[in-house]
């Protein structure tokens, strides 16, 4: 019991076929942050917490070496952090009018890359992922098949990330695997 086994929903399953590589990112610390992000106080607190400028346009994300911050809504952000989620959450909650929830295990993150990536995503998502419409640095909450996902664009090559709820991860993975043959 000293070294408890940690699991991910897909146990690091991967897909590597012609034109598509999919990998589960493993355990990513995730915190759902709430607050009035338009306020000076909130922004200052967040900038201080993460050590980067955290003002975000709608549906974009920003990263530094330790953190990635995604815009989810006017009063909602998703933070991936290398830090201890409990203490980061506590520090954020110290700012007035805020909330923070450790959701590290609520979902897992798939990284999709290769030439077929966009066609695979388009097979399950009505959201337009064409580079003219959804460039690097953008993110969106949409659906993939029946799964709610947080989708983000990380490189033109292309590289996308898909955050999906733990209990939908197998379904989304199987979905990707099946359509990879079709596109």
């Amino acid at each position: 019991m000293d070294n408890p086994v940690k699991a991910t929903p897909l146990e690091m399953a991967a897909i590597d076929v012609d034109g598509l590589t999919v990998a589960e990112l493993g355990l990513v610390n995730k915190i759902n942050l709430r607050g009035d992000f338009d306020s000076q106080a909130c922004n200052a607190a967040l900038t201080e917490l993460l050590g980067m400028d955290c003002r975000l346009e709608a549906n974009t994300y920003v990263s530094n070496s330790a953190s990635t911050l995604f815009w989810l809504g006017p009063n909602e952000r998703m933070l991936y952090t290398d830090g201890d989620p409990q203490s980061v959450a506590e520090r954020w909650r110290a700012a007035p009018g805020t909330a923070a929830v450790d959701v590290s295990d609520y979902s897992t993150v798939l990284r999709l890359s290769g030439a077929k990536t966009r066609d695979v995503i388009a097979s399950g998502s009505p959201f337009d992922v064409h580079p003219q419409h959804f460039g690097v640095g953008q993110c969106t909450q949409t659906r993939f098949g029946n799964a709610s996902v947080l989708l983000s664009n990380h490189a033109d090559t292309p590289v996308f990330q898909m955050q999906v709820r733990w209990s939908f991860a197998r379904y989304a993975f199987d979905y990707i695997k099946r359509v990879a043959d079709y596109v």
């Binding site: 940690k6 909330a99 929830v101 295990d105 979902s107 209990s167 939908f168 979905y175």
Partner: protein
């Protein structure tokens, strides 16, 4: 067999690639590039099927997707597909096709007797004859379907795979004929994202069917190359736009591997269903030639003029050596010239009294005989055209006169003009306008639906010559791109020489007279071939008052079925207009409905079949359950452990064992699926007070409370335990199936009614893996693996403690759904598997028994704990559940409060939850069984209640049930009667709902 009707040269087929196929058991050959239709025609096969109602012999009418007759049963076994149009099936080696709607054989069909009794099978026949007695419809229907039936559905599972995908573009071009190619080229020139769809296997549209193919093919190639230069252009062939919905949402079916034959597509899907969102749409869907409606115009060999031209020019097939072209406009003259050029003996019968001298000259040069102001009055040849009779038309066109000329022929190429294909624009909500000069409807650009912007170009817009089509297309493509914010280069307006004769002056003759009045005698004037509807049927409909176009359609069935009236609609409207003495636009058109051509349901489902049909949500412990032999139950979309049968156990004995074990030692249940919502903010308690019926202000930090949620009608809609984690921080649990609904409920109220409240809700359902440990030994078990002080005083019932369990961080809630001493251990999901393994190991010495949802149901029923959705059904108040204790009498407001005072919620004799103990303790009542006030031999019987939960309880030692019974709470001790579906009658005593440990000692132990 040899290809008797194949021309020695010409056409776009690849003569170096012969293909073998069978039709009705006979083997034939065709070429790569043929359709099934052109290959059959090349082999001289004219009789392709029997008609729907009269079982008349039928052959090809068209060369494209408008074909109403040549419906084929394609392939066999699991791959079989009924009602495929031979004109749309690309030939492949080994293709197997069968004719439809004939029995016992195509040549001899007993149903053809219908034709002899046709006067007793008029329009509306089924409605009139089979409506009485209504109970017999089910019997009639079987025979009607068989007699009239189209093809046969496969009985095996579809072995093919399908793909569905979304797509987005700036400009969607529907049709890759001259107008569509020009539109796409122009739109793409400025960088717009362009998609072009065409139902053919190659772009070109009508150009593919013209003579002098070289110039046309050059243009097509030029256009393709121009499009290929742009990364943002997607040209999809074999792709039909099937539906046009609001806000420029267009669906399309791509036949990806159909043309390779069944099972030959490799990993590729058979078909792909496109769901396209376009900023602008250019409709370049072309036009469809109209048949003339004359006596016995359905004989095999009577075809559309352009179809004859297409078979000659595109497929190198002359459908017959002796061709009569029957027309009311100039365009069919080109077909006459093409047929003559390829060795046909051609006669032209033109309904117009005179035609231009230039046309006459051209005919003379080819030795083509011309009858002006004449009409075909009859067609001879039961299974194929043998000759036609031609007579002079009266000046008004209403009758024929003079001598009848008999012309031997095997093909009649008829043209009644052209109908622009307005389906897409009409589906988009755009209105049509009637243009006299072409005798047809076109889109009215001033009455398009603003939210579905589109531009029509080419012949679907009423412009039939290629040069104008290209100009209009280029203009439309440029305009569409400009509207999307792209600067296109000036429209190029490519031009080249096409052998075509423009429409000229069309002289509509909607119903061609014969020697008898229409409807008398044995000849029939068909306007709708697929549904076997004649001009006489329209006359009958008019006589019986079905004059509205929508009534006409339904009464006669004109325009229905797989071709959706592509060749028949306008003729039907015009005939009705003539009967009523009104103009065609006054009659109006019926609504064009998707799909444009038939769709495969598999394609619409796409990849979302089998395990992708609905997500199977699994908990982090799922694998452990599988390894330990669990049977699973679907709860919501989760897979939950139902029970764990041991060797030799059936479900009943497994559940009995598990249920006993929980009360005798200790059991564990995976409770991870329960909905969990984290609620934070200074107004958190205000929200919780509003959504639950009871009081929450005084709940101590670290304490838990059960709550009931009502909807606005005061009816129970969810329940669960909520725990106060910190000053302004709560952890709410919901039912498994209600998790998303409750989250939506909270957000809706917060966002619409109380946006100023500072409270944030976050779903954490999957964050936590949860094992519920229940039973008298639960404390001892937990004690062994936790650093939390689990003593009775340190960790009382309805509190929560944080600490480590099995070495990992945990929140342990001392709550119980069994009435036993119980703990719900929550750990981050990553440790779920670790936790269950640790519990299983530590539990060995306590006889720890994993139990599933079925035992959980029995255990909770023994305690009278309700399951929302099982014991409640959306019409049940807390008082009905005998839970008035949980409804606050002091709170001013909570959701559902108002409805507590409604007359209906206050009325006497509402169904109320009670327990039932059957007279015979071994009888387990079926859930749903009715409690009746009197028993009779058959329903109806007055029902006063029904069983909601029913089990054999090993702990009570007999069967127990919960039921809703009118005024039940006052009837405890009464004996009631239940009458089951199978006729059995049982007596039961109304009891309290708590069957075990009524004092609640065990749970506090």
């Amino acid at each position: 067999m040899t290809q008797t009707h194949r021309l020695l040269e010409g056409g776009l087929v690849d003569r170096s690639k012969p293909l073998t196929f069978t039709f009705d058991g006979m083997t034939y050959t065709g070429y790569q590039g043929d359709t099934l239709a052109s290959a059959l025609l090349a082999n001289g096969v004219r009789l392709l099927g029997r008609s729907f109602k009269y079982h008349r012999p039928r052959g090809l009418i068209a060369a494209g997707s408008e074909e109403p007759n040549a419906l084929m049963q394609l392939e066999t076994g699991p791959y079989t597909e009924p009602n495929t149009r031979a004109t749309c099936v690309e030939l492949y080696d080994g293709l197997v096709a069968k004719s439809q709607n004939r029995w016992p054989s195509l040549g001899f069909d007993v149903g053809a007797a219908n034709s002899l009794v046709a006067r007793f099978l008029p329009a509306g026949f089924y409605y009139k004859t089979f409506m009485w007695p209504a109970s017999m419809w089910m019997t009639y229907e079987k025979y009607i379907r068989k007699a009239a039936g189209l093809g046969v559905s496969p009985t095996e599972n579809d072995p093919d795979v399908y793909h569905g995908t979304y797509a987005h573009c700036d400009v969607l071009v529907i049709g890759a004929g001259p107008a569509g190619l020009a539109a796409a080229t122009a739109a793409a020139s400025g960088g717009a994202r362009v998609m072009v769809l065409d139902e053919n296997n190659t772009p070109g549209g009508a150009l593919l069917g013209t003579s002098n193919n070289a110039a046309s093919l050059e243009f097509i190639k030029r256009s393709e190359q121009a499009l290929e230069q742009h990364e943002n252009v997607q040209l999809l062939t074999r792709t039909t736009a099937t539906g046009y919905y609001d806000y420029n949402y267009i669906t399309a079916l791509e036949k990806v591997t159909d043309h390779m034959g069944p099972g030959n597509g490799g990993k590729s899907p058979r078909q792909r269903f496109w769901k396209i969102r376009a900023k602008q749409v250019v409709v370049a869907a072309g036009s469809i030639e109209r048949p003339l409606v004359f006596a016995d115009n359905d004989r095999p060999g009577v075809m559309l003029a352009n179809a004859v031209g297409t078979y000659i020019n595109r497929y190198g097939v002359l459908p017959g050596n002796d061709v009569v072209v029957f027309t009311n406009n100039d365009s069919a003259y080109q077909v006459a010239l093409d047929a003559a050029e390829n060795g046909g003996v051609v006669t032209v019968v033109d309904t117009r009294p005179s035609v231009s001298s230039s046309l006459k000259t051209q005919l003379e040069q080819k030795n083509i005989k011309l009858f002006q102001g004449h009409a075909i009055t009859s067609v001879q040849g039961a299974k194929g055209v043998e000759s036609v009779r031609v007579m002079k038309l009266s000046a008004d066109g209403d009758s024929v006169q003079g001598q009848a000329w008999e012309i031997d022929c095997s093909v009649v190429a008829s043209s009644g003009g052209w109908t622009p294909s307005c389906h897409m624009v009409s589906q988009s909500g755009g209105k049509l306008k009637y243009i006299e000069s072409i005798a047809a409807f076109v889109p009215d650009e001033s009455r398009l639906k603003k939210t579905s912007p589109n531009i029509s170009a080419g012949s679907c817009n009423g412009s039939f010559d290629t040069a104008t089509c290209i100009q209009q297309g280029a203009r439309a493509g440029l305009d569409a791109a400009t509207r999307c914010g792209f600067d296109g280069a000036a429209a190029s307006g490519d031009s080249f020489q096409v052998n075509e004769i423009p429409l000229g002056t069309i002289s509509p003759l909607w119903l061609v007279p014969t020697t008898h009045p229409v409807g008398e005698g044995r000849s029939k004037h068909f306007h709708d071939f697929q549904n076997d509807v004649t001009a006489a049927d329209i006359q009958l409909a008019a006589r019986e008052g079905f004059v509205s176009v929508e009534h006409l359609k339904r009464y006669t069935t004109t325009g229905m079925a797989t071709d959706q009236g592509k060749t028949s609609n306008l003729n039907a409207l015009a005939i009705m207009a003539n009967i009523q003495g009104v103009s065609i636009p006054e009659v109006g058109t019926t609504t064009f409905r998707p799909p444009y051509t038939p769709l495969t349901l598999g394609a619409v489902g796409g990849q979302e079949s089998r395990e992708l049909f609905i997500q199977e949500r699994q908990t982090p412990m799922h694998e452990w359950h599988v390894d330990n032999g669990a049977e699973f139950e679907d709860v919501g979309d989760w897979k939950r452990s139902w029970y764990y049968p041991q060797a030799g156990e059936d479900m009943h004995s497994a559940v009995q064992r598990e249920t006993l074990a929980v009360r005798e030692s200790v059991g564990m249940l995976d409770a991870s699926t329960l909905g969990k919502i984290d609620i934070q903010g200074k107004d958190a308690v205000k929200l919780i007070e509003m959504v639950y019926t009871n009081n929450w202000q005084k709940l101590a930090i670290g304490s838990c409370r059960y709550g009931l949620m009502l909807n606005e009608h005061g009816m129970i809609f969810d329940d669960g335990v909520t725990t106060r984690l910190a000053e302004n921080h709560y952890h709410m649990t919901t039912t498994t199936g209600g998790a998303a609904r409750v989250m939506g409920w909270l957000e809706e109220w917060l966002q619409t009614e109380w946006p100023e409240w500072e409270v944030y809700c976050t779903s954490v359902t999957e964050q936590w893996a949860v094992m519920a440990i229940n039973g008298p030994k639960a404390r001892e078990l937990l004690q062994d693996i936790t650093d939390i002080d689990v003593s009775k005083d340190a960790f009382p019932f309805m509190t929560m403690r944080e600490g480590k369990v099995a070495g990992v961080p945990a929140r342990v809630y001392r709550i119980s759904f069994t009435g036993e001493l119980a703990y719900e251990v929550n750990v981050p999901a990553r440790y779920g598997k670790h936790l269950i393994e640790a519990l299983a190991a530590a539990g060995k010495k306590y006889d720890l028994c994993p139990y599933g949802t079925e035992a959980m149901h029995v255990l909770r029923a023994e305690k009278g704990f309700i399951i929302v959705g099982q014991d409640t059904d959306g019409t049940v108040t807390p008082q009905d559940m005998d839970m008035d204790w949980i409804v606050s009498k002091t709170k001013e407001e909570y959701l559902g409060n108002r409805s507590q005072a409604r007359i209906d919620t206050q009325r006497a004799a509402r169904p109320q939850l009670i327990g039932l103990l059957t007279e015979d303790p071994t009888v387990v009542l079926p859930e749903g069984a009715h409690i009746v006030s009197e028993v009779s031999d058959a329903p109806p019987m007055p029902t006063i209640g029904h069983v909601t939960s029913s089990y054999m309880s090993p702990n009570v030692g007999r069967s127990i049930a919960l039921a809703l019974l009118q005024d039940g709470i006052n009837r405890k001790g009464d004996v009631v009667t239940l009458r089951l579906m199978n006729g059995e009658v049982h007596k039961a005593t109304v009891s309290d709902t708590v069957f075990v440990d009524a004092e609640g000692v065990r749970v506090r132990g």
